[in-house]
């Protein structure tokens, strides 16, 4: 059976390189927002609970801490 034909019929957007611009933008914005939230929360937050909870990680990962 012809694999190429199958791929075309069954999976119109199968591999990452074939993502449309809007799909990439949506995925990128969502990933960036969640990713930055996590990084700010663990590495940069001023709140003492976040600071103290993540203290050793901040030093170990090279974030400015004190």
């Amino acid at each position: 059976m012809n694999t190429t034909t199958n791929t075309t019929i069954n999976t119109p957007t199968a591999v990452p390189t074939s993502l449309s611009l809007s799909q990439r933008l949506i995925a990128g914005v969502l990933a960036l927002m969640l990713g930055l939230t996590l990084l700010v929360g663990t590495g940069f937050a001023g709140d003492f609970r976040l600071h103290n909870g993540a203290h050793d990680t901040r030093h170990a990962m090279g974030f400015p801490c004190h």
Binding site: N6, T7, I9, N10, T11, T13, A14, V15, P16, T17, L19, Q23, R24, L25, I26, A27, G28, V29, L30, A31, L32, L34, G35, L36, T37, L38, L39, G41, T42, G43, F44, F48, R49, N52, G53, A54, H55, D56, T57, R58, H59, A60, M61, G62, F63, P64, C65, H66
Partner: protein
């Protein structure tokens, strides 16, 4: 597709984060705890808030005072280790999602074939370049204003990362010139300079810490990039396999 990106990022972060947390537990945290014993009075202390009278200090540990009322911090021992491991995994997820986002915006897939390049770029962007101006710091070391350092750290990471994306997209002469400028500029501007005070932390502890944290970050980024790429390949292959067909 969005689900695949998030799944690949989060599983890769879990793998890299757990390994890094283990290395931190055995090689990094002991140095932090050791350094904290040198923290001078008036400096803030960590990991002691929940400790009540009657706990024992390890042999050779300097005496320190316990304020009656202190802000919350995880208790030394299992609790502190657990928080550190959790924070490391969450930070790993943050880094994974950020490079996943960059891969989407730049239209450069993260694959197993190029995963180590992503890892190397991530290491230089988020660890090496910031450390070039702001050496990994131990508690008790003199340091410049926190916000100024955070600002320089973020600016350096953005400029360095942008240089790598530019070079990945084009090797035109103008692009190389701009990339070099982006990488060098933060270091010409210069990181905030620490006040010229004697450090309470012994030099051998600080140098060991700098070497081990940078080495650990290199391992973290290599694993993150490789696993992220491998998972992306797997998900792409699965999506490309027609339903019912056996590969």
């Amino acid at each position: 597709m969005i689900r695949n990106l998030f799944a690949a990022a989060l599983f890769a972060a879990l793998a890299a984060g757990l390994l890094t947390a283990a290395i931190q537990h055995f090689r990094v945290t002991p140095l932090i705890l050791h350094a904290e014993t040198f923290e001078g009075e008036g400096g803030h202390s960590h990991g002691e808030a929940a400790v009540v009278a009657g706990h024992e200090h390890a042999a050779g540990t300097a005496e320190h005072s316990h304020a009656a009322v202190e802000e919350w911090a995880p208790q030394d021992g299992f609790e502190r280790t657990a928080y550190t491991a959790l924070a490391t995994i969450l930070a790993a997820a943050g880094f994974a999602l950020v490079i996943g986002a960059v891969s989407m915006f730049a239209n450069i897939p993260i694959t197993f074939a190029n995963g180590l390049f992503w890892g190397a770029a991530g290491f230089i962007t988020f660890s090496l370049a910031p450390a070039y101006g702001l050496a990994p710091e131990l508690p008790g070391m003199p340091a410049a204003d926190l916000f100024a350092r955070q600002l320089w750290w973020v600016g350096t990471a953005i400029a360095t990362g942008a240089a790598f994306v530019l070079l990945a997209k084009t090797r035109a002469s103008w692009a190389i010139a701009v990339a070099v400028a982006l990488i060098v500029a933060p270091h010409i501007i210069g990181a905030p300079i620490a006040p010229d005070e004697p450090s309470a932390v012994p030099a051998h502890l600080a140098t060991e810490f700098a070497a081990i944290t940078l080495g650990t970050s290199a391992v973290f980024w290599a694993v993150l990039g490789a696993v992220f790429g491998r998972l992306n390949d797997l998900f792409a292959a699965r999506a490309a396999t027609p339903i019912g067909a056996i590969a």
